[in-house]
């Protein structure tokens, strides 16, 4: 891992965030600075070390196949920006580029 410069347009596109020109300049400089600090990790000998995703062993949790309490459609949709007939309304998806 060498010290990389972040391709801000590429990554912002992956993250689905529209950035202003000023944000691009500011974030690029700040994130390059942070990535420079990450370079410390380069020097560490990690040969044979197992990656650690969780502090405690995570095991699959099985639940009985029984109906439990769930939110009503009204409760589930109470925060919807735009709704109609128990559905969320969005701009047209098909046919857009």
């Amino acid at each position: 891992m060498s010290v990389e410069k972040i391709d801000i347009d590429y990554v912002a596109n992956l993250a689905r965030i529209e950035l202003t020109a000023d944000e691009k300049i500011q974030f690029s400089a700040q994130l390059d600075h942070v990535l420079g600090h990450f370079a410390k990790l380069n020097a560490v000998d990690i040969a044979g070390v197992e990656p650690m995703a969780h502090a405690v062993p995570v095991v699959n949790v099985w639940a009985a196949d029984e109906a439990g309490e769930v939110l009503s459609p009204e409760e589930a949709l109470q925060n919807a920006v735009e709704g109609e007939a128990n559905q969320v309304v969005l701009p047209k998806v098909i046919g857009e580029s």
């Binding site: 992956l14 942070v34 990790l41 650690m52 969780h54 109470q78 925060n79 919807a80 701009p91």
Partner: protein, 491 residues
């Protein structure tokens, strides 16, 4: 009822309630009045609902008078960080993204508090989505440190710490991903505890970094932290990382402390460059206190300490970029009015809904997970995380607990670090390893700076070593008067 009832601990007001010296309504009214008097300056709360709190208090008084008291928390005001769900209450995460969101369900900890009869009071300010160390990343309000209104309260649970320190509530819950309970507790002169990962269910906690997040108590005394932890800990099948273990009797551990020659380790790396002199002196005084109490003080090494900040900011931002993908403007979060197609719904809603620090972290997390960089950053960080954990495993073969400063400095001035994210990240240097290793940690007040700002010390324990931490923390608290010191806030 004394004038300063709002500064009593939960155990003290609980005894007053039991003896009939005060009612839950009077107690709740006292914190409501206190909040009305000081919160315009402190800014701890995002929202309050006095009518609802008083109705809960009335119910509590009725239960008590009919002999159906639900326990030691019945009738006591508890305030939650605005990242923990309470049914039919706002859940904003201090973000424009969730400005109008009302939670349709209770978090596990909320259910536990309701079952214990607690009076849920207000929603506490925080850094947006718990990302920050000063509560300056909130889109809603500016929270000040009650000890010096020009200083930050710490973060991300800054509202929780300021409310407890300022007498605006009796107890509070925060969440801690890299120090977000302990660092603000240190800055505001209160007790803050992050439990062992898995002891408290994360169900109903808006996720930041799922492998690191834990909910924990923020209180004015060690006894109160034990009481609150006792109430919220325990298994919950709705959180797959919630552990199936019995919850120890923490209050009993404080009433009947284990008599032994405690072995306390002092990690040398935590006293190196960057540690403020006043903090160093205060923490070294605390070490001498424990030595005089008969504890065995041993120097230990955690050699990978300096790697904790980069490891943490790779892992936490990677997890955040994934967790925050749900805020896309489609179902319930902010939706841009300027969007004309589905892609614009995503891009513009996230541009308008997220603040600068959240955008930076989501972009950084997306980058370290992206094709070509995953192995170099994320996988490597996960391996170094294992080395950091192994350092603790080795240290705990020699000692029972570790004692460190909680933060390198007392509270800093508002605006001092906002332009330099890396400087802000480095203020978490003593707390984040504890999250990476999943250990319990507690911050308690151990001194005051010359300028009148609190200083905190941190005790770190083995997994499930909460009783050890509480026992040693109480030993220090009982021999000092920091728990009785409160900010003047003469407003």
């Amino acid at each position: 009822m004394t004038d300063s009832i709002f500064y009593k601990t939960a155990l003290e007001v609980g005894a007053c309630l039991e003896r009939g010296e005060v009612s839950a309504v009077e107690l709740t009214q006292a914190v409501i009045d206190r909040t009305a008097a000081v919160d315009a300056s402190v800014g701890a709360f995002n929202s309050i609902n006095a009518e609802d709190a008083l109705a809960q208090a009335q119910d509590s008084d009725k239960r008590r008078s009919s002999g159906q008291c639900l326990g030691p928390l019945d009738g006591i005001p508890v305030s939650l960080k605005d990242v923990i769900a309470v049914k039919n209450s706002p859940l904003t995460c201090s973000s424009k993204m969730l400005q109008h969101y009302v939670s349709p369900y209770d978090a596990h900890v909320t259910e536990k508090l309701k079952a214990a009869g607690a009076v849920l009071w207000g929603r506490l300010n925080m850094d947006e989505f718990a990302m920050g160390s000063s509560t300056e990343n909130s889109c809603t309000a500016k929270t000040a440190n009650p000890w010096n209104l020009e200083c930050v309260p710490g973060g991300s649970s800054g509202g929780s710490a300021a409310a407890v320190a300022g007498g605006e509530t009796v107890l509070a819950l925060g969440s801690d991903t890299g120090g977000s309970i302990r660092q603000p507790a240190s800055f505001c002169g209160i007790v803050g505890m992050k439990p062992t990962y898995g002891m408290v269910s994360r169900y109903g906690l808006a996720a930041f970094a799922s492998s690191l997040d834990q909910i924990g108590p923020m209180t004015r005394s060690v006894g109160d932290a034990a009481l609150l932890l006792q109430t919220i800990a325990g298994h919950d099948q709705r959180d797959s990382t919630s552990l199936q273990r019995p919850v120890p009797d923490y209050l009993k551990a404080l009433r009947e402390p284990e008599k032994k020659a405690w072995r306390i380790g002092i990690p040398q790396e935590y006293f190196a460059e960057g540690l403020d002199d006043e903090v160093k002196v205060a923490v070294k005084r605390a070490i001498e206190f424990y030595r005089e109490q008969g504890c065995e003080i041993t120097s230990v090494s955690l050699p990978n300490t300096e790697l904790a900040v980069p490891v943490y900011y790779v892992i936490a931002t990677a997890e955040a970029s994934s967790n925050l993908a749900r805020y896309d403007g489609v179902l319930y979060s902010h939706r841009s009015q300027a969007a004309t197609n589905i892609n614009e719904v995503y891009f513009k809603s996230r541009a308008e809904g997220f603040g600068p620090e959240v955008k930076r972290r989501v972009i950084l997390g997306t980058y370290v997970l992206s094709s070509g960089y995953y192995d170099a950053y994320y996988l490597r960080a996960q391996k170094v995380r294992a080395l950091i954990r192994n350092d603790f495993v080795a240290a705990f073969k020699q000692v029972d607990v570790l004692l460190t400063p909680t933060a390198p400095t007392p509270a800093f001035k508002s605006g001092e670090k906002t332009a330099d994210p890396l400087a802000m990240y480095l203020s978490d240097i003593y707390t984040i390893s504890v999250n990476l290793a999943g250990l319990p940690g507690i911050s308690i007040p151990c001194g005051m700076s010359d300028s009148g700002l609190p200083i905190g010390l941190q005790l770190i324990g083995r997994p499930f070593g909460e009783s050890d931490l509480l026992t040693l923390a109480q030993q220090f608290e009982c021999a000092h008067d920091y728990a009785e010191q409160h900010p003047l806030l003469n407003l």
